[in-house]
């Protein structure tokens, strides 16, 4: 076990409610406008109501149990990026088990003030099914779910969803036949995948940046054209029609299977392999709300050339179009980060539109446990 200090500066400190320390050492939340004034006349009338309201009032204590599908295999916890790295704003890591578990403790000296929650216990690499069971049985407070599972959640379940910040795309690595790349781009039936596998969550996209961020994503066509895909495939040498596909994220496997089927319809023989494939189905994310920063980051994540600096939307559009020329990267969807949240977690949403964790404002029903 390793003790960690928050290394982040004041720029990341958020506005926080004031904290009044009690003599017992326990922390009682006292948000503005919510102090009950002793009023004898209303005391009896509001007694019962006050009891109920006490449950909704922020209070300190407790362990927030979070389960995510991602498994970070690193000797040290990540300091940047969404997710676990966001906890360093207000928490200090106390335990790191690479790929399995991370435990954070509230930082009394956090810039925005001490979080309500004492501890955040993050379990990594949890399969979706086990996450769902843990949430249903109360063993987890926040679990990461796939957009496709959103419609399967029971009625009334609290869901936190970000904007579509995750880009799902096909990326060719070292494959030199542009006709086949274009044929595959035209063969993928995005609409069927979106409707069934993604259950209508996120956006179909032919662009790297999501529509909500760039405003011009609709200009990139995402429509399929199977006859043209067949014609392009037929015009290529037979050896070029044989492709291998790898999937970085297991949750994208069903999409990959459908792509294989679509490719088969277009006359391409695509087989899924563990690694070393000619084309990869990858997932990357928008790391900034500034499109001028987000596009180079996505290009770098996909192995595309760095786009030129764009000062205007038109220049940014042209830069993105330049990246997509030649179909070395085929954007497919933009998906949101989605979390299912236990009813005992209060004060949310605990994520930003970019999918960043903001757990310092959360508290748990029942407080310290």
């Amino acid at each position: 076990m390793t003790a960690w200090k928050n290394s982040r500066g004041a720029d990341f400190r958020l506005r926080r409610t004031s904290v009044r320390r009690c003599g017992s050492g326990t922390k009682t939340p006292c948000p503005e406008g919510r102090l009950l004034k002793p009023c004898a006349a209303l005391l009896l009338v509001l007694c019962a109501v006050a009891t109920g309201l006490a449950e909704t009032r922020p209070h300190y204590g407790g362990t927030l149990r979070v389960e995510v599908q991602e498994s970070i295999e690193a000797p040290d916890p990540p300091q940047t990026g969404p997710g676990i790295a966001d906890l360093f704003n207000a928490f200090a890591i106390t335990r790191w088990e690479s790929g399995r578990r991370a435990v954070f403790a509230a930082d009394d000296n956090a810039a925005g003030g001490r979080p309500y929650i004492d501890t955040v216990d993050v379990e990594m690499g949890r399969p979706p099914r086990e996450q769902a069971i843990a949430l249903d049985t109360g063993k987890a407070d926040i679990v990461q779910i796939e957009p496709a599972d959103l419609r399967r959640q029971p009625p009334g379940r609290k869901i936190w969803s970000s904007s579509p910040v995750r880009l799902v795309a096909l990326v060719f690595s070292g494959y030199q036949e542009p006709r086949i790349r274009e044929a595959l781009a035209l063969a993928v039936d995005r609409a069927a995948i979106y409707r069934v596998l993604l259950q209508g969550q996120g956006d179909i996209s032919g662009a790297l940046l999501p529509q909500w961020l760039s405003g011009y994503a609709f200009l990139f066509s995402a429509a399929g054209d199977l006859p043209r895909a067949r014609a392009l495939a037929a015009s290529a040498p037979p050896a070029a029609r044989v492709l291998t596909l790898s999937v970085d994220n297991p949750s994208l496997r069903s999409i990959a299977d459908r792509i294989v089927l679509n490719a088969h319809d277009a006359g391409l023989a695509v087989s899924i392999v563990p690694s070393g494939a000619s084309v990869r189905l990858v997932q990357t994310r928008v790391i900034s709300a500034d499109p001028n920063r987000a596009l180079p980051a996505i290009a770098a994540a996909l192995g595309l050339p760095e786009p030129p600096r764009a000062d205007t939307p038109e220049a940014l559009y042209n830069a993105e179009r330049g990246l997509l020329e030649g179909f070395r990267a085929i954007p497919l969807f933009h998906l949101p980060d989605v979390y299912a949240v236990s009813p005992r977690v209060k004060g949310g949403p605990g994520i930003t539109p970019l999918g960043e964790w903001r757990f310092e404002n959360l508290w748990l029903e029942g407080g310290r446990q």
Binding site: R151, R152, D189, A192, R195, V196, L197, Q199, G200, S254, D257, R258, V260, L261
Partner: protein, 579 residues
Amino acid sequence: MTFRTRLLLIFTIAVVASVGIVEWVGSDTTRESFERAESQRVNALVAQFQKEFDRRKQGIVREVNGIAGSDAMLNLTLATDYAPNYDDAPPIAAAHGLGLLELVAGDGSIISSAEWPARFGYKEDWLLSRDNWRSLGAFLKREELPDGVTLALVAVATVNAGDRTLYIVGGQELDRQFLSTLVLPSGMRALLYRNLSERFSAAELIDSSGPVARSAPLQPLVESVMAQPRETTRTIGTGATAETFHALPLLGYENNLLGVLLVGSSRRSLVELETSLRTTGIVVAASGILMGLILAWWATARITRPVRRLAESAGKVAAGNWNTTVEIASGDEIGQLATSFNRMTHELVEQRERLVQTERVAAWRELARRLAHELKNPLFPLQITVENMQRAREGYPEQFDEVFREGSQTLLAELANLKQIIGRFSDFAKMPAPEMQAVDFNALVRETMKLFEPQFANAHVAARTQLDPRLGSVSADPEQMTRALRNLILNAIDAMPGGGTLTVRTIALGPGVRLEVSDTGQGLTPEECDRLFTPYYTTKTHGTGLGLAIVQSVVSDHKGKISVDSKPGQGTTFRIELG
């Protein structure tokens, strides 16, 4: 081949043939019986397999109907959006033990597929081709899977709610796992050929462990069923590795041939049984043959012993022992033959004694006649001479001296003649034993012929010799052989009183020699030829009749053979063979 050997051979052939026929008939009958039983067993097992196959079909139909009867399927039928149900099929298929399950909307589009989840939205138009799928039961169908085409046993059920229809297509893949779940008795195996390509593909012939290693021997059987889909039985292989395969065509719902099920039954047990029977048969046959040979040996010995004795006795008789008799040990045909043989030899002895006696008397008579004849000729001049001398002394004393002198000379000449006659008889009686030495017969002939040249000239006989240059020395007595040759030459000259040609030949006969003396005289009759060598027999008006008898005696003493070849008017050839 002796009579006993021949008899033994006949007995042996009879025994071997009998045992072989019995063994063959027994073995053939037994094999037919066991093959009939084996065929019945295979048929029973095939029927059992078909029953198991039908049970699987019924199981699939039951499960598919069970799924169709669930509330979930009714709700799905009524659903307005199938997208949330795209992964319903895998858990339902697992719960019902089905490897294949597709939930298909009324328009034929796949809502959810357990075997190929990515195929949602694709069309299964074949489902729209008929209405009463439930009555069809389970049937075979080509099924496309992510890793290729396979053969599946499927059933279709429909759920109808109002004007909406939901198809449930469930089943199991006919693969090696399916074959491994079939209960087959020992010695049997089930193979499946999946008719997924136009031509025979060895990779599609599988058993419970995967593709069949040696599929080539089965290819003709599979191809024959593919050409004409009907149940076919064929035995493949030889010996203990042979198998009888019962091929069942597997048809789809459109009666198209989708597969061939091969139920193989090993013939190992049958072959082992046949081998055991054959081994036992061989042992029994060998024992029988051995016993038969021993009995045949004993029987032939018993049967041929008196015959052999008869043969030996006959041989002794042939060798001159005419007093030979055979022991009579039985009263059967062999005993009667022995009795007859003994009687024959007894009569032969008596006849020979009578013949000898007769010949001896005849010989003496002939000798007396010859002696009288030979002696009478010289005696008559002697008597005349003596009477002349007496008459001269009494009547003509002055001429007595003259008469006496002439008479004395005549007497001496006739006495010399008598002496010569007596000498020839004496010589014949006292033929010496031959003194054998190496003799050059060609030289002997040349020298002898030279001595007779004056006589040939006087008799107008042309003498010729044909001498074989290959002839070497032959063991013989040169004096006696010269004497025999002289007699033959003299005989030939006498046979040609008007002249002719005399030819003497020598011919090499291996280590021996053939000597031939031919004349061109008037020849001899067969009767004369038969008596030619009898002593004192002659066809001439002069001579003692001892010449050819002496020749025969010489040849006989040399262990040789003499024969005569003659026909009246064509000359005569005497032939002597030595060696």
